[in-house]
């Protein structure tokens, strides 16, 4: 345990220059990802074990005073498995997660409003069966009318030929993403016609072309 913490300290001290500035690679996403992988993945070079030896629930260090007062380590903070639902679980209005022996009690910053994004997600999963949002589904239960008429509002219908907000297998419509105007598309073909391999890509380069259209077409690349 002491040795592990030592390793972790060593890693942390390496992250700063002698002047106290974070090393350069940490201002890149790749640098953060590499560090995260090294610290979080068991068995990786800098992995540090986060669990306490006893396996007893422990409060995380940033718990508020209310939480500390409420916390009783003898209470089982694990979310019960479905087969154990016969026993009544005390309704506390507060969520708790135990992992690796560390208990995090969520009381929504002390406001006790009891409603947050995770609840919204939970409702969404319950009422929409985990499927993605559909405007048509809403209007099935909530009829609307065109202003000043009794004409029932019919929401615009979408199909996979017009628009989609996520890649759909077999679709020909490319979802737009923030970084690409063409988007990526997930298709799963198991067969392809001749020309399917290299046909599109060879035209991009201009130089790798079977038609020999460009003057220097016979020499490309060094391939790499």
């Amino acid at each position: 345990m002491a040795k592990e913490e030592n390793t972790k300290d060593q890693v942390v001290s390496k992250l700063f220059t002698p002047e106290g500035k974070p090393i350069r690679v940490l201002s890149t996403s790749l640098g953060i990802a590499l560090l995260a992988n090294a610290l979080l993945i068991p068995g990786s070079p800098a992995a540090a074990s986060g669990s306490s030896a006893s396996g007893e629930p422990q409060l995380v260090s940033w718990s508020t005073d209310e939480v500390k007062a409420y916390f009783d380590k003898n209470v089982d903070w694990n979310i019960p498995y479905p087969e154990e639902t016969a026993e009544e679980v005390e309704q506390t209005g507060q969520g708790a997660v135990t992992s690796n022996g560390t208990t995090v009690i969520n009381n929504y910053g002390g406001y006790n409003s009891g409603f947050g994004w995770d609840d919204l997600l939970l409702y969404h999963m319950l009422f929409n069966s985990g499927s993605f949002y559909s405007s048509r589904g809403w209007y099935n239960n909530h009829p609307g009318y065109y202003g000043g008429t009794r004409t029932v509002y019919k929401p615009r219908t979408y199909s996979s030929t017009k628009f989609q907000n996520k890649p759909v297998a077999g679709s020909v419509v490319k979802p737009r993403t923030s970084t690409s105007s063409t988007g990526s598309i997930t298709r799963r073909g198991t067969s392809s016609k001749a020309g399917g391999i290299g046909g599109t890509s060879s035209k991009l380069g201009g130089s790798k072309s079977s038609s020999g259209s460009k003057s220097s077409s016979s020499k490309s690349s060094f391939g790499g």
């Binding site: 690679v25 073909g189 016609k193 290299g198 380069g205 790798k208 020499k219 490309s220 391939g223």
Partner: protein
């Protein structure tokens, strides 16, 4: 004519009959020395000192082991795949691939180094998926050196290739435009010849996939294929999905194997540099090699001095942009396809390439080193502008 103030010496063959020599090289299998009105082959030899060659060979072995280690670290980590630009279509086949023995992730690869006038060696990139230049290095270079009585260190390329392919045992070799694209066709034909195996050459454009079974134009089933087909293009080509499915279901084995795409991504250099800065993964000896031979590389332009940006899967110099000390764009490649439209970019500190003075003007020397069957074994010289692009020329590299 020699190059003053440089460790390199240029010996130009000015008095010789070019047409005759081009014809001789054609016979040997190097059919694209002259292309229409362009002289792709510079008749001459750039000679490097033996000490530099030995350092280069040692550096190549070290870097090969370092990049091998980095691939083992990245393997099966999807967040890192994403950051080094691996198209998602390849993830599944990478995840199900078992890592081969150390140093054998790709059995046919080529490093590109910048060696400065004073002999300082810096790695620019590794082409571990579909390198070309094999004919130039294994056939033309030894011949040109031999004619001039200069030693070539490229003699072991053929035997290493034969050893590699005796393990991989491809039944088919393919490239795009086989028969019409002289360089790629000539390259796979030379590889097939040197392997000593009975292998059929086909055009990638004739290949088709029937429920995961890859077949050639005559409907012959292909099970083991060496293809000069960059794997990242599976994300672009219509048949990419079908080919990926064929590989994942084991109906075809591709060479180089899928894992070589992790070595190929220039993002891997950023991984190596990142782990080096973080003080992780590498031991003291490896860290020394990284400090000496690898340029600071990141996936964001965070340099205070000059740098280069290039696509993680850039080829032929396409997508390369060079920035000056103030971060302003200085020069960008105009000839190759800018694949940074499709793949993320890496940013690398600039390195100096030796300047050679030929009778036709000055050019920069890019030094290639083939690594075949895990062994560094062949020099490839190219002369071009600041960016070694599609219009660069081949020149033999010898050792004295």
């Amino acid at each position: 004519m020699s190059t003053s103030g440089s460790i390199f010496e240029l010996r130009e063959n000015l008095g010789l009959n070019r047409a005759e020599r081009v014809a001789k090289l054609y016979e040997l299998g190097f059919t694209w020395a002259d292309l229409e009105d362009e002289e792709y082959w510079l008749d001459g030899i750039v000679v490097m000192p033996a000490e530099t060659y030995e350092e280069l060979e040692k550096a190549s072995s070290m870097l090969w082991a370092i990049l091998d280690k980095a691939v083992r670290y990245v393997h099966r980590k999807h967040d890192l795949y994403d950051l080094i630009g691996i198209p998602p279509i390849l993830w599944e086949m990478l995840d199900i691939s078992e890592l081969p023995a150390e140093g054998l992730i790709s059995r046919y690869a080529r490093f590109d180094f910048a060696i400065a006038n004073d002999g300082a060696i810096k790695l620019l990139e590794l082409n571990a998926d579909t390198p070309t230049g094999y004919v130039e290095a294994s056939i033309a270079t030894p011949w040109v050196c031999d004619e001039a009585g200069i030693s070539s260190r490229n003699d072991r390329m053929k035997e290493n290739l034969a050893a590699a392919w005796s393990v991989e045992q491809p039944d088919t070799a393919a490239c795009v435009g086989y028969g019409s694209h002289e360089e790629d066709s000539g390259t796979i034909e030379a590889l097939v010849r040197h392997s000593g195996l009975d292998i059929r050459c086909v055009d990638c454009l004739d290949l088709w996939v029937d429920e995961g079974v890859v077949k050639d134009g005559e409907d012959r089933i292909i099970e083991r294929m060496f293809a000069l087909y960059p794997k990242e293009w599976m994300a672009v080509d219509e048949g990419g999905d079908a080919l990926a499915y064929a590989i994942e279901t084991g109906k075809i084995q591709l060479f180089n194997p899928p894992l070589s795409i992790l070595l190929q991504s220039k993002g891997l250099l950023a991984v190596v540099w990142g782990m080096y800065e973080l003080g992780l993964l590498f031991d003291e000896k490896e860290r020394e090699a990284i400090a000496s031979y690898i340029l600071p590389t990141y996936n964001k332009p965070i340099f205070s001095g000059n740098f280069v940006s290039k696509s993680m899967f850039g080829r032929e110099g396409g997508s390369v942009r060079m920035f000056d000390a103030n971060g302003a764009l200085e020069i960008e490649d105009q000839d190759g396809y800018d694949s940074s439209e499709l793949f993320p970019s890496v940013y690398q500190k600039r390195a100096e390439m030796a300047l050679i003075h030929t009778s036709k003007g000055d050019c920069h020397l890019l030094t290639g080193m083939f690594v075949i069957n895990g062994k560094p074994c062949g020099l490839l010289g190219r002369a071009g502008g600041l960016i070694t692009g599609n219009t660069s020329q081949f020149i033999a590299l010898g050792v004295r």
